[in-house]
């Protein structure tokens, strides 16, 4: 009985982390047909936001409840960042999935390196450059002959701004030394500690259900419910669904499709931020945090079938349960009648081999249902 409970709970808790990581991806991928490789880095940003919020509230009476504030903050930060990414990169690439994939992958590398090397000196340098370059372009753009000198203007302005920014930030570095050159986060991971009330566990017999896992299960359920409600009961949800089904018809009927795209992307990114808060309670917070989850998240979306929430939910649960049952050798006792089966399961009952087994099962599954559990007709299919 305890064994069964343990398996169900173990599978559920792995599945809920997978689902949380995959939700935002599923929305962006499913509704917009955009593969966002920087999704993992949005999770990382969420995790770092948790770290910042935790430290900001350390000495205040709210220190035990920082996690709720972190959830809100992470959602907002990641959503804003997603909005910026959509406005500056993704919207130029709609309908070109391969280019989107490459571009967002580049963004993911930039974000990783940004977290490692960001310092006051860095921020000051980038700020100066942006101010000079974009400010200068704005001033120059008002000249009547701008179109003729455009290329030269941008090259000269870019070079000049870069030089000034470089000199300025170097002077800052020389004057204030470590105080401005020290990275905010650095390459070493940072420590996010769960609040006291999340650190223990709920004892059931001689087994203990960790509170962090329970918290993540509840959080995942809340997110799924929230998205369902948003997509089905709000005007913007209706518009998103309409655009998903038929973009040109929606546009003809007066739906602002560009706003809808931006909103969807921001929503997906915000969810990644929330997932980041959750994984910061379980594992590490470092510049490569997101990478640990991105492959699994893709797995869930692909197995579930693109664009259906229910697919992602079922797939996350199934993958979680299978990895838990294989990894912890929970089946071992049931097959002890056959020495072959027993040794077969024991062979796969290590963390590395369980992963191999799960991937193998997914490949086999996709042979039979290449479109996943719940295939959907939508924009991606029409295109």
């Amino acid at each position: 009985m305890t064994q069964l409970l343990e398996s169900v709970f173990g599978g559920l808790s792995i599945g809920s982390v997978l689902l949380l990581a995959a939700l935002g991806l599923a929305i962006v991928f499913g509704l917009m047909g955009v593969i966002n490789m920087a999704h993992g880095e949005f999770m990382m940003i969420g995790a770092y936001t948790t770290f910042v919020v935790q430290n900001a509230l350390k000495k205040t009476p709210l220190s035990e409840l920082y996690i709720f504030l972190a959830l809100i903050a992470a959602f907002i930060v990641a959503a804003l960042l997603g909005l910026v990414l959509e406005r500056t990169v993704v919207r130029y690439l709609y309908g070109r999935p391969l280019e989107t994939l490459l571009a967002t992958w580049g963004v993911s590398l930039i974000l990783q390196q940004f977290i490692r090397s960001v310092s006051w000196q860095f921020v000051a340098g980038v700020g100066t450059f942006c101010l000079l370059f974009f400010g200068g372009s704005w001033v120059l753009a008002r000249r009547p002959n701008f179109e003729q000198i455009r290329g030269w203007a941008i090259a000269v302005l870019g070079l000049l701004s870069a030089l000034i920014a470089l000199v300025f930030s170097n002077i800052l570095g020389q004057t204030f030394k470590l105080a401005v050159t020290k990275p905010w986060f650095g390459t070493q991971g940072v420590d996010v500690t769960a609040p006291k009330w999340l650190r223990g566990g709920l004892p059931i017999g001689d087994y203990q259900l960790p509170y962090t896992r329970l918290f993540i299960i509840v959080l995942t359920a809340a997110c799924v419910f929230g998205i369902y409600w948003f997509l089905n009961k709000t005007p913007w949800g209706l518009r998103i669904r309409a655009v998903t089904q038929n973009r040109s018809m929606s546009a003809c009927l007066g739906i602002p499709t560009k706003t809808v795209d931006a909103l969807t992307f921001a929503l997906g990114s915000g969810l990644a931020g929330v997932a980041g808060v959750a994984v910061s309670l379980l594992g590490s917070v470092s510049s490569n945090t997101g990478q640990a989850y991105i492959v699994d998240a893709f797995m869930v979306v692909v197995v579930g079938g693109v664009g259906k929430l229910i697919g992602s939910i079922v797939a996350a649960g199934a993958i979680g349960l299978v990895s838990y049952v294989i990894g912890s050798n929970a089946l071992g006792p049931f097959v002890s009648f056959s020495p072959f089966l027993k040794s077969f399961f024991e062979f796969f009952a290590t963390a590395s081999m369980a992963k191999v087994m799960v991937f193998a099962l997914i490949i086999v599954f996709l042979q039979f249902r290449p479109a996943g559990l719940f295939p959907q007709k939508g924009r991606t299919v029409d295109a």
Partner: protein, 439 residues
């Protein structure tokens, strides 16, 4: 600053084009066809010509290992700066050429060749992972050059061209297992590690040792390097040791964070499930969080909390150069002293260029290290080291709960494992060499 370089593509691209041209013009170096190390004449370098001696520093400054190796570079540069301020070596200043191995083993090998052939350095300080060391080893042997390696490792190697200043298994793993056997009499062991060469070799040694001494291993599991889903492993530990037991942990990197966070969530604290780690030092404790590690053990040769004047000076100098909130750890200490050991060897040999003379002079060099006095470079190219076990305390540093009162001699070939039992290494005697059968 380098971080702004990315945007100044015009300047950069012109310099890059220039350097590519330069590289193309430089004579290509070939390594093929060199005879065995014994036959090839000892390499000599032009590193000491002029008034500087060039040395190479070869670590990962980018990629996953940068987290650990960056701080080792800091320690090596501190030692070089101190030596230069005190007048240098043989009256010459040391000039360090830092290369980035980028956590990529072929890159390590390329950069090692570049440092030896192009920069003509007198020696190289470098590497962290066993994989990077194994990748550069053939280069150092074929060119008969010299590498100083600062990290505890799994042993089972003894090269003429490498000086190992981290612990061999008998200076870290074996004593910690002995200590656990004594302190937690009769408790079962569960071995958890990352899935690569060091933990697997370490666990082979531990299993052989426990079998010889009457300990009991009830389980063993590996997580892919960087993996964070540890729920199945925690259930397995619980199932294998329902009444508590010892977790011997050789996980590396991010997996540790997930492991300790979830161990605590499952209610398996250090009172019933004490763990002994061989890859968690002061820096890692800060990244994982003290709350999750308090009361767990780690085995090293050096902790920041070691009390002696040399260490006080070392810690103070490091903090002065790199910031008050930085901490030092075992590999950093080993990296720091190996620069001094090399300096002593050069001074004894009265040359930095004749590598064979420097190598011979290095044997028997003694130093009062931050870890304790009388640390000696032995004839097997490993150094004698103090063995310590620390318990994580509230401030994230280690309370030393066990320490040897004198350095333990290194044994590179493991004496519990069948394949290497009875073998030894002695580079002071040409007849014996790197692997000979003791009688």
């Amino acid at each position: 600053m380098a971080q702004f370089g990315r945007r100044e593509f015009i300047i950069l691209s012109s310099t890059a084009a220039g350097s590519v041209l330069l590289k193309a013009c430089a004579p290509s170096t070939t390594t093929g066809g060199t005879a065995s190390p014994e036959a090839s004449p000892a390499a000599t370098t032009a590193a000491a010509s002029g008034d500087v001696i060039k040395v190479g520093i070869l670590h990962s400054l980018s990629g996953t290992m940068a987290i650990s190796e960056k701080s080792v570079v800091d320690a090596e540069q501190l030692a070089i700066e101190e030596i230069n301020e005190a007048g240098g070596v043989l009256g010459k200043k040391i000039e360090a050429i830092v290369e980035d191995g980028a956590s990529d083993w072929p890159t390590f090998n390329e950069k090692a060749k570049k440092l030896i052939d192009q920069d003509k350095v007198a020696t190289i300080f470098g590497c962290w992972t066993s994989a990077s060391r194994k990748a550069v080893l053939p280069t150092f042997e074929s060119k008969n050059h010299m590498l100083w390696y600062p990290v505890q490792y799994e042993g089972q190697e003894c090269s003429k061209n490498i000086f190992y200043t981290g612990a061999a298994p008998n200076q870290q793993i074996e004593p910690s297992v002995d200590w656990l056997l004594k302190k937690y009499k009769g408790q079962p062991f569960f071995l958890v590690g990352s899935d690569y060469v060091f933990p697997r070799t370490a666990n082979t040694i531990i299993k052989a040792q426990l079998a010889a001494k009457g300990g009991k291993v009830v389980g063993e599991d590996y997580i892919p390097l960087g993996g964070t889903e540890v729920t199945p492993i925690i259930s397995k530990i619980k199932a294998a040791m329902p009444n508590g037991g010892i977790i011997y942990n050789s996980l590396n990197g991010d997996s540790n964070v997930a492991f300790f966070k979830q161990l605590q969530g499952a209610g398996m604290g250090p009172d019933k499930y004490p763990s002994m780690s061989v890859s968690i030092a002061e820096e890692e404790v800060r990244a994982i969080g003290v709350e999750y590690l308090k009361g767990h053990y780690a085995a090293w040769n050096y902790f920041q909390t070691v009390e002696n004047p040399v260490n006080e000076k070392f810690v103070a100098a490091f903090k002065k150069k790199y910031g008050e909130d930085r901490v030092v750890n075992d590999p950093m200490e080993a990296a720091y002293i190996m620069v001094y050991l090399w300096k002593q060897a050069v001074e004894k040999a009265k040359t930095a260029d004749d590598l064979e003379k420097v190598r011979v002079a290095a044997l028997g060099q003694k130093i009062d290290a931050p870890e304790g006095p009388g640390v000696t470079m032995e004839n097997n190219h490993h150094i004698s080291k103090y063995v310590r076990i620390g318990e994580v305390r509230d401030d994230g540093l280690f309370e030393i709960v066990y320490a040897t009162d004198k350095p333990v001699k290194p044994i590179p070939w493991n004496q519990f494992v069948k394949e290497t039992k009875g073998y030894s290494c002695d580079w002071s005697d040409p007849a014996k060499g790197g692997k000979y059968k003791m009688t």
